[in-house]
């Protein structure tokens, strides 16, 4: 299975080679792999339905990371959507994108890469593998929505889709880690078994499940995160049909369906799922009734249907078996009716150049074939027999009505309300796209959609009809998924369950939908009065984040070097300083000095240092620094380090020479204005505290030593024997640690090159521009030099 996923990504990477020769052929090549995947999945139906087909590849075994994949009933249903509809839509793309379309190569490669990532997501058998593919689909969605990024609208929609889904994805990752650590494994079936056995509990589980649900809700465009989905409709129609109707937005529903058998008994799981799902179903349906762009209408319809699926696949309960069965049926049905409806919109757009249902008129006669296929799909969406949508909806009503009680009735009534709205917007879609409207000129059809645009629509619509009639196939698939739930009802999918409440509910929904459609003018007038606007909420949130970022940056990044250094210094004093005070002890028997000679040298160094701090003339300061350097060199002699002293004297002398070279070009005094007392005193205090901290570290840390270094003996023994040197220090530098010395010489070279180039640049400037003289502190000087 890993090979299939990798093959998708590899072929996607090579696809631009095909596009370079023939743009439209690339889509045909791309369609081959999803078709093969679909056939492979169908060929493995038997093992998938009985226990599942598992493969595991070690990724980083020491970290417990594996790439494990599993094909079972739910994965099989999703593969049908991802690969089956994927292949159909890639074929549709051949007709949709023009032969010279500049977007075609990019879209072909990205669509196939997305198909691979989505395949990995639905086959993943462990939470971390799932997460990796989850984020890959988000990125693919961002790139496909954004397209070339030339239009503001595209960029904005792409960023919104990315921010919302990745925000949820990161929350979900946190939930995965909490859940995986609590269960001791990231393998999904083992986690579900632990959940069913009640071995997981407590606040960690609650937090983990809520975070995972957050991820699922954002990805599947549930309330209040849904606005990114209608916004994403700026993408080309095949992208909308594939990512934002058939496959990617189902990832959240899929995740909920995957985990529900283990956790749906817990109120922390089913209450949010039912409340958010029902609210989303109703709000999405209501918004679809006032949309005027056909794609927007379908997008809000998708939001609504995703809420529906969320309720069915996530709510569990005593009759979770039936709702799970209904969920699988509707999962398939939704892919098979929403994809062709989107493709219909694409075909209409292609033929007439418009998607506005107020302008379209009379296409029923102009495009009869497309109209018939779309009507078939819309009928499945509304829930008309004998289509798959009807079969699934019957089961959904039956499950919650049989469950009864407060929860069962509330959900059942909510579903009826949602289904009524669904029927209404299905009718609105057909009316808006194809009906002859009074007062509107029949829309001229510029070019009739070819077979490449219409055949894919027919394939999907007819598949919905065939599966509706061949409902036992779907029943076997759904029953295999629903197996973990207790078997009490003996319910099976069927076209005819006899007269009963479920059939009545379906009739109410259909009738109510037609009534609503008949009253469309009043509804359109009502719709804009919405008290809450989720899109506005998103915009306010983003604006608030930007303002907070600005405030934080403005306060932290003040642009002043002294302020930054002071911050570092304060942190140095507080953190290691506090640790030393709390953890270390002041050594006993602290001597005042070890050698009498240390005292006068120390006095010289201290006096010179204090004088440097107060020096006003540059040359005085440099000379005093020289005094410090020679004083420290003297200390080295006392300490028994003649090599060090030699190096120190040499370096100090050379530094003095270098300083003098520069100083002769600079003003004699420090040009800096003497800062006010309120700035000077804190700086001096901070410096003093920092120095005291260093002295305290030196004493406390050196006091922690219990005996001299044990390496001395070896160095002394090896220096004459191995390096042939009596001076142990030089043996270390040129022999034992020769690589250090080599790098040190490298540092000297780099510094020398830097110094040389800086000095030469100045000389070059002066030759080129006679007027520029160093040391002129005027604005004209700056302009002259910088040009």
């Amino acid at each position: 299975m890993l090979a299939l996923v990798v093959a998708h990504l590899a072929v996607a990477a090579l696809l631009p080679l095909v596009s370079a020769r023939h743009r439209r052929a690339a889509f045909g090549v791309a369609a081959v792999l999803p078709t093969a995947t679909l056939l492979w999945a169908l060929a493995n139906t038997a093992p998938a339905l009985h226990g599942g087909l598992t493969t595991t590849t070690a990724w980083a075994p020491t970290l417990g990371l594996t790439l494990s994949f599993r094909l079972d009933a739910l994965a099989l249903a999703m593969v049908v959507l991802v690969s089956g509809i994927g292949a159909v839509i890639l074929v549709y793309c051949i007709g949709y994108f023009g032969a010279e379309s500049p977007e075609a190569p990019r879209n072909a490669a990205l669509l196939l890469a997305f198909a691979g990532a989505m395949l990995g997501l639905v086959l993943a058998d462990d939470l971390l593998t799932l997460y990796v593919f989850w984020e890959l689909t988000s990125i693919a969605s961002f790139l496909l929505v954004g397209q070339s990024g030339e239009q503001r609208e595209e960029r904005r929609a792409a960023v919104q889709a990315l921010l919302v889904t990745v925000f949820g994805g990161l929350a979900m990752l946190l939930g995965f880690v909490l859940l995986g650590e609590a269960a001791g494994t990231y393998v999904i079936p083992e986690i579900l078994a632990a959940g069913q056995a009640g071995r997981l509990h407590g606040g960690v589980l609650t937090a983990a499940l809520l975070l995972i649900l957050l991820g699922a809700f954002t990805k599947s465009a549930q309330l209040p995160f849904h606005p990114w989905l209608p916004a994403a409709m700026v993408a080309p129609t095949p992208v909308s049909a594939y990512l934002h109707a058939a496959s990617m937005v189902k990832a959240g529903v899929y995740l909920v369906a995957r985990l529900a058998p283990g956790f749906s008994d817990l109120p922390v799981w089913w209450v949010p799922v039912v409340v958010v799902g029902l609210a989303t179903m109703v709000v999405g349906g209501w918004r679809a009734l006032s949309a005027t762009d056909l794609k927007q209408l379908l997008a809000f319809g998708t939001v609504s249907q995703l809420g529906f699926l969320m309720v069915l696949l996530g709510s569990g309960g005593p009759l979770g078996e039936i709702s799970a069965l209904a969920g699988v049926a509707l999962l398939l049905a939704h892919g098979l009716f929403k994809a062709p409806l989107f493709m219909t919109v694409g075909a209409i757009d292609h033929a007439t150049g418009s998607r506005d249902l107020r302008k379209l008129s009379g296409l029923r006669t102009a495009m009869p074939g497309t109209a018939a296929a779309a009507a078939l799909a819309a009928a499945s969406m509304a829930g008309l027999p004998p289509l798959l949508g009807f079969v699934g909806k019957e089961a959904a009503f039956a499950g919650f009505l049989d469950e009864g009680g407060l929860r069962g009735w509330i959900v059942a009534l909510g579903l009826v309300l949602g289904s009524t709205l669904t029927a209404a917007y299905s009718a609105r879609f057909l009316w808006g796209a194809f009906a002859r409207k009074p007062g509107v000129e029949p829309t001229p059809v510029h070019h009739r959609p070819g077979a490449l645009l219409t055949v894919p629509i027919w394939i999907c619509s007819v598949a919905g009809l065939v599966l509706g009639i061949a409902y036992p196939v779907v029943d076997v698939l759904g029953a295999s998924y629903a197996a973990p739930y207790p078997h009490v009802s003996g319910y099976h999918l069927a076209l005819w369950h006899g007269l009963g409440l479920p059939l009545l509910f379906t009739a109410v929904a259909l009738g109510g939908g037609l009534v609503l459609h008949a009253q469309r003018d009043r509804i359109t007038a009502l719709a804009p009065r919405s008290p809450l606007d989720a899109q506005r909420g998103y915009e306010l949130t983003i604006a608030a984040i930007a303002r907070v970022a600005l405030g934080v940056t403005g306060r932290l990044q003040v642009g002043s070097l002294p302020a930054y250094l002071a911050t570092i210094l304060v942190a140095f004093v507080l953190l290691p300083g506090a640790a030393t005070v709390l953890g270390g002890g002041w050594p006993a028997g602290q001597p005042l000095y070890h050698s009498v000679m240390q005292v006068p040298l120390a006095i010289v160094v201290v006096i010179a240092a204090l004088a440097v701090a107060r020096a006003k003339r540059r040359f005085t300061a440099v000379l005093l620094v020289g005094v410090i350097g020679y004083g420290v060199g003297g200390q080295f002699i006392v300490d028994g380090a003649p090599d060090l002293a030699l190096a120190q004297f040499l370096v100090e002398t050379l530094s003095l020479v270098a300083f003098v070279f520069v100083l002769r070009r600079l003003p004699a005094d420090f040009t800096e204005e003497r800062p006010p007392r309120r700035v000077r005193v804190p700086k001096a205090v901070l410096g003093t505290v920092g120095g005291a901290a260093v002295a305290a570290f030196a004493v406390v840390l050196s006091g922690a030593r219990t005996e001299p270094s044990s390496t001395i003996g070896e160095f002394v023994r090896l220096a004459p024997a191995e390096a042939g040197a009596n001076n142990v220090v030089s043996a270390i530098i040129v022999d034992f640690r020769a690589l250090d010395t080599l790098v040190e010489i490298g540092v000297l070279f780099i510094a020398a090159a830097g110094v040389a180039s800086l000095v030469l640049a100045t000389r070059y400037d002066r030759r080129g521009r006679r007027r520029v003289e160093s040391g002129q502190s005027s604005p004209e000087h700056e302009e002259d030099v910088l040009g």
């Binding site: 604006a543 002294p562 440097v612 410090i628 420290v632 700086k683 120095g691 005291a692 830097g754 800086l758």
Partner: protein, 165 residues
């Protein structure tokens, strides 16, 4: 060899008070100079800090002892050669750093005519801004406003720069 190290007379091994005070003063002066606005003072601060660090490295090896040169003294009385080697490397690196900073300071002085570390104009502009300059949801109109606001800040910063120099 192990017997040799235990017989060494290096007790106590802590840094004595006079040396701790010296290191402390060197660091205090170095830190204070580092915090000032004159590039030359900052550079001198770095040099003073370097002296303090080199001294500290050497002191960490232990109290004064005989130079570690075989044949001049019994090995038991040697000072630890490893910190000396490290301090020697540090001295040379400090020299490289000093000259490079000196050249940088000189170049900066030639270019801008003074050697003061000034506040970053861009950062000051961000701190003064009320609205993010590139909001994700901004319409065309907003962008205009932000741009004109940018111009104002830039002009103010330029005035400030002229006054400072």
């Amino acid at each position: 060899m192990t017997t040799m190290t235990t017989t060494m007379t290096m007790d106590p091994v802590t840094i004595n008070m006079v040396m701790a005070l010296t290191v402390g003063v060197l660091y205090a002066v170095g830190f204070t100079l580092l915090l000032s606005r004159s590039l030359m003072r900052v550079l001198i601060g770095v040099v003073v800090l370097g002296h303090g660090t080199n001294l500290l490295l050497q002191l960490a090896g232990g109290p004064p002892a005989r130079p570690p040169i075989v044949g001049t003294a019994p090995p038991e009385s040697f000072a630890d050669p490893l910190p000396q080697a490290l301090a020697l490397t540090a001295i040379v690196i400090t020299f490289a750093l000093t000259t490079l900073l000196l050249a940088l300071g000189y170049r900066a002085f030639v270019l801008v005519g003074h050697d003061e570390v000034q506040d970053d104009v861009e950062d000051r502009r961000i701190a003064r801004q009320k609205v993010p300059s590139a909001p994700l949801e901004a319409g065309d109109g907003d962008e205009q406003d932000v741009e004109s606001a940018d111009d104002e800040v830039e002009a103010a910063a330029a005035r400030g720069r002229d006054a400072a120099s």
